[in-house]
Symmetry: C2
Subunit: 195 residues, 2 copies
């Protein structure tokens, strides 16, 4: 675990990266029931190589999730420094939905990992959730999102809408209208404010 006699070989590091890339796609398409063997095959390595880099299938899936969560958090964080908080919030929402459209396993995990799952993934998930919370808060302060909604339901709707978008049978236009309905529900309604 401490500094080994020799550094990790470059081919090993390259393989690890390729496995991670392929796993993201395979788990994204087939969910977590996709087989490790397929990951190995598409990555062009033997099964043993996959298991050497990631001791279990769960560890592989977790590594994929951590990377994805961290990436999303980074994007959300960048949007935090934007001038228009409302646009930032809705942009991120739209981006995540479009992105998750082909990533079944990621969508599934967005909520689950927040529960009691293994340390690293849960931590990354919480980091993402916190940043989305900040995005939401700013948007609310700017008056772009209703004040009476809270993070849990927004996050839940985010995941739900992502899953909707993941369905291939649904027309693009219908997906857009579904998103519009949710956005409309999140937007403050001037005619109702007085009540």
């Amino acid at each position: 675990m401490s500094t080994p006699g020799r550094a990790q070989r470059v081919d090993a590091r390259a393989n690890r990266g390729r496995i991670l890339d392929v796993a993201e796609e395979v788990f994204g398409k087939g969910g977590e029931s996709a087989s490790t063997e397929e990951v190995a095959r598409l990555a062009g390595v033997g099964i043993a190589t996959v298991f050497r880099h990631f001791p279990t299938k769960a560890a592989l899936l977790q590594a994929v999730l951590v990377r994805r969560f961290d990436g999303l958090r980074e994007q959300a964080g960048a949007l935090l420094d934007t001038t228009d908080p409302g646009a930032a919030f809705f942009d991120f929402f739209r981006h995540l939905v479009a992105d998750a459209a082909t990533k079944i396993a990621i969508g599934e995990a967005l909520l689950d990992a927040g529960g009691d799952r293994d340390g690293e993934a849960a931590q990354a998930s919480n980091g993402l959730r916190r940043t989305v919370g900040a995005l939401l808060q700013h948007a609310q302060q700017a008056g772009a999102v209703r004040d009476d909604v809270e993070l849990p339901e927004v996050y839940a709707l985010l995941v739900a809408t992502s899953r909707t978008a993941a369905h291939p049978d649904l027309e693009e236009e219908a997906k857009a209208r579904a998103l519009a309905i949710v956005f409309d529900g999140l937007t403050p309604d001037p005619s109702r404010r007085s009540g």
Copy 2:
């Protein structure tokens, strides 16, 4: 296949019903990856009995779905004869979401079965979808739902919100607020009509 020499024995019919009931609960809780053996155990029968009544696990799941879809369609059909079409639509939406909260597999199948799945389940699913379509149309004619939304996205949102409700970590209040957001998005907005 034609009338057999003797009618089905009453214990066999009773077992079939119990298996179906238990299967609905087991698949509802654990999704379609739940094991057939657990269904048999909880139904108090041997595993062979399950497979005698339903030749494959898929056939069992399909039988569960057909029964559930037909039941939902019946409820939706009853609401069609109600005096307030808007209330009928939103009531059914609310009912389905609450009902699907503990039925993972059913929620998954609501959209999938509409695709290219096996005959019977697809047929039942389409029947349900058509009835929901009528419910939606009536609600729109009554001015309770925006005119510019169509069945596909409404159905998708229905399923997505159901999945949201299935999550145990989410507070009841948050679920209610999520539903309120969707309903709000579906309701015509007077201040925007003039545009």
